[in-house]
Amino acid sequence: MPVRRITVTESFAEIDLGERRARVDYATIPGARWSRARLDALRDALQAAIDHRVARAALPDGDPDKAADPARGERLFWDGGDLVGRAAVVESVAFDGAKPVLALRRAR
């Protein structure tokens, strides 16, 4: 799993990916309490921060992934108009009473 370190505080969650960090401030997630919906929203925000997304239209001519979905499982696939590279999956986000708890796994 391309994660060096995971940091979760009462104000943000950050996933250190080595070459960069995927960070989400809770303040950017609508809602004040950790409802299920808000936890899911945090999960989606973290996943988006992890993903490497390139518009297919921006791919160089001659790139095979521009013409066809590479369909390499969760690791490289088309999502709408984008080519998505995903190394880690945010499986779930729970709340332990004090702060969110992240469950991550390696993309398959």
Partner: protein, 608 residues
């Protein structure tokens, strides 16, 4: 399938790269490593998982999993299920630390297989290994610090799924901190002896000799900066191959590199495997078939086209191929063909699985080296002996010819011996026949002895009867003797009476002539009284004599009867000569009591 090492990790990347999943905020600090520089740290509620077959395929049951664990509190407030083996999310084998400080082994149904009493001390690493079968009737044996804690069989260790996950975790309710280090997993095992024992994991990441030092030039990037701290791609600290048909590598030969020069590595035979880890990606563009390169300073292997556009971690593991020896370094890099896709490498790590030399291993190694030297000496001797043997082969052939000539003579002798053998066989058959005759005669003799024994017993019975008859006869003779004595006494009395009568008559004659008539009359009266007394005595004597005579007659009749019995006994058969040797009868006097009297029968008077 053959025994295979599928995975190992010692947190030496400094991060969570080698894990397949996490829960919470586990980390890999330098706080409490067992070997190498780091260990995984799990706070309350944290978990890490490994996908052991993601790199090396599962060789099938049986399995060995090992890892070092350290709790800062070995009596946690709540049970800590610290090691869990799973089929996806389904757990089929678990070890948990109880609040009492014991370790419980739990099966797929949540049932306790075994409880290990107080095996851990606080804040100290303990190496736990489990040899197990993934089946519904499995054998499982837990080792702690290389010591077996007991084996259990016929245990349910499956949920009918595929074993794919090794999970270390700390309970949310626990206040203890759990450190995990030196994890490994093997498949295709056949016995608990297939485990490694306590292993060590060392990581090497110092790549100072980048660029032109190794193979083709690395076109861009500064390998010297590929340190353990994650680097920021935006800062340009990414090794990248951007030109067509470029490739290269770097060696882990910087300060702190290895394994060459690492004092922890105590021999090539103790290096069990190598693991190469890349944090890398490719760019977009036409396909240049980008690849990763890994191996040792002797040889390398290039991967296939596996990179994607997102930075990900790539793992290569080998027990044999291109595993650095103790005098080599890791060599890692990458390259591309012709095309738009470049290779970008953020980080590289070389990991070594090592089993430290124990006293036993050292001893065995010394013995093996000595044996090897002896083997070499013996090989040289064997070579010389072989040459000598060839020389002697010619001699042996000559001897063989001579032996063949003599073989004919031996065969003739053998034929004669066979003739003798036939004669011996006939003699043997005759002897056996005679033996059968002797056996029959012996049986007959034994029957005769039985009959003689019976006759002897009858003779002994009749001898006792003869003894009694003899005694009765003697008693009768004694009675006759007594009767004769009494008759003698009576006769003497009668004679005295006659003499007195004669004397009285003489006196009467004298009185008549000398004293006168009265005197004579008085004397006559006295004589008459004396005569009457004598007559009474005579009558009594006669009566007694009659009684004695009757007794004598009776005794004579008894004696005649006994004589008849004696005659009858005298008709009994005498024992054959030699019969007394069977132990019946003894030559001694016999004492008989009859009629209040005791008689001694001398041995010579007895009939046997």
């Amino acid at each position: 399938m053959a025994l295979a090492l599928n995975d190992f990790s010692g947190a030496e990347t400094g991060g969570l790269e080698e894990t397949s999943a996490t829960v919470g905020t586990p980390s890999a600090p330098t706080t409490n490593p067992r070997s190498g520089a780091r260990a995984y740290r799990l706070a309350a509620g944290d978990a890490i998982e490994f996908a052991p077959f993601a790199t090396v395929a599962d060789a099938g049951t049986d399995y060995v999993v090992g890892a070092s664990v350290s709790f800062d509190d070995v009596t946690p407030a709540a049970a800590v299920p610290f090691l869990s083996l799973r089929e996806g999310a389904a757990e089929f084998l678990r070890l948990e630390l109880t609040p009492g400080g014991d370790v419980r082994v739990v099966d797929a149904n949540g049932a306790t297989i075994r409880t290990i009493t107080g095996p851990f001390t606080a804040a100290a690493h303990h190496f736990v290994e489990i040899y197990f079968q993934h089946s519904a009737s499995a054998t499982v044996e837990v080792f702690i610090d290389d010591a077996s804690q007991g084996s259990d069989s016929a245990q349910d260790l499956t949920d009918a799924g595929t074993f794919d996950t090794v999970r270390f975790e700390n309970a949310a309710a626990s206040a203890a901190t759990l450190d995990v280090d030196d994890y490994y997993l093997k498949s295709g095992a056949t016995a608990a002896a297939d485990r490694f024992g306590p292993v060590e994991v060392f990581g090497y990441q110092a790549w100072p000799n980048s660029g032109t030092d190794n193979g083709s030039a690395l076109d861009v990037g500064t390998w010297d900066l590929a340190g353990e701290t994650p680097l920021d791609a935006s800062a340009g600290h990414i090794v990248s191959y951007t030109a067509n048909n470029k490739n290269g590598s770097a060696d882990s030969d910087g300060t702190g590199g290895g394994p060459s020069g690492d004092p922890n590595i105590d021999g090539d035979s103790n290096i069990k495997a190598a693991k190469w880890v890349f944090h890398a990606r490719r760019t977009t563009g036409s396909n240049s078939a980008p690849f990763l390169r890994y191996g040792d300073t002797g040889a390398t292997t290039d991967s296939g086209d596996i990179l994607t556009t997102a930075f990900a971690d790539y793992f290569f593991l080998s027990e044999t191929t291109n595993v650095p020896s103790s005098s080599q370094f890791f060599r890692m890099g990458g390259g591309k063909g012709s095309g738009g896709r470049d290779v970008e490498i953020g980080e590289m790590w070389g990991m070594l699985l090592h089993v430290p030399v124990g006293a036993t291993t050292k001893t065995l190694t010394g013995s093996l080296e000595a044996a090897l030297q002896k083997q070499r000496t013996l090989t040289a001797s064997a070579g010389a002996a072989l040459q000598s043997g060839r020389t002697r082969t010619a001699d042996a052939n000559a001897v063989l010819a001579l032996l063949r000539t003599r073989s004919a003579g031996i065969e003739a002798v053998l034929s004669a011996v066979r003739g003798v053998d036939a004669g011996l066989e006939a003699a043997l058959r005759d002897t056996l026949s005679r033996q059968l005759g002797l056996d029959a005669a012996l049986a007959l003799a034994r029957a005769g002895v039985v009959n003689l024994d019976a006759a002897l017993r009858r003779l002994e019975t009749r001898g006792a009867g003869l003894d009694a008859a003899l005694e009765a006869a003697r008693s009768a003779v004694a009675a006759l003797d007594a009767g004769f004595a009494r008759e003698t006494t009576v006769a003497a009395t009668l004679q005295a009476a006659v003499r007195a009568t004669v004397i009285a008559a003489t006196g009467l004659d004298a009185s008549i002539s000398e004293i006168g008539l009265r005197t004579a009359t008085a004397s006559l009266g006295a004589v008459l009284r004396a005569t009457a007394i004598a007559g009474a005595a005579l009558s009594a004597a006669l009566e007694f004599a009659r009684e004695t005579s009757a007794a004598a007659d009776a005794a004579l009749a008894g004696t005649a009867l006994l004589g008849a019995g004696l005659d009858a006994n005298l008709d009994l058969p005498f024992a054959p000569a030699g019969t007394r040797t069977f132990g019946h009868g003894e030559d001694r006097d016999q004492v008989i009591t009859a009629g209040g009297r005791t008689f001694v029968v001398p041995a010579g008077n007895r009939k046997h």
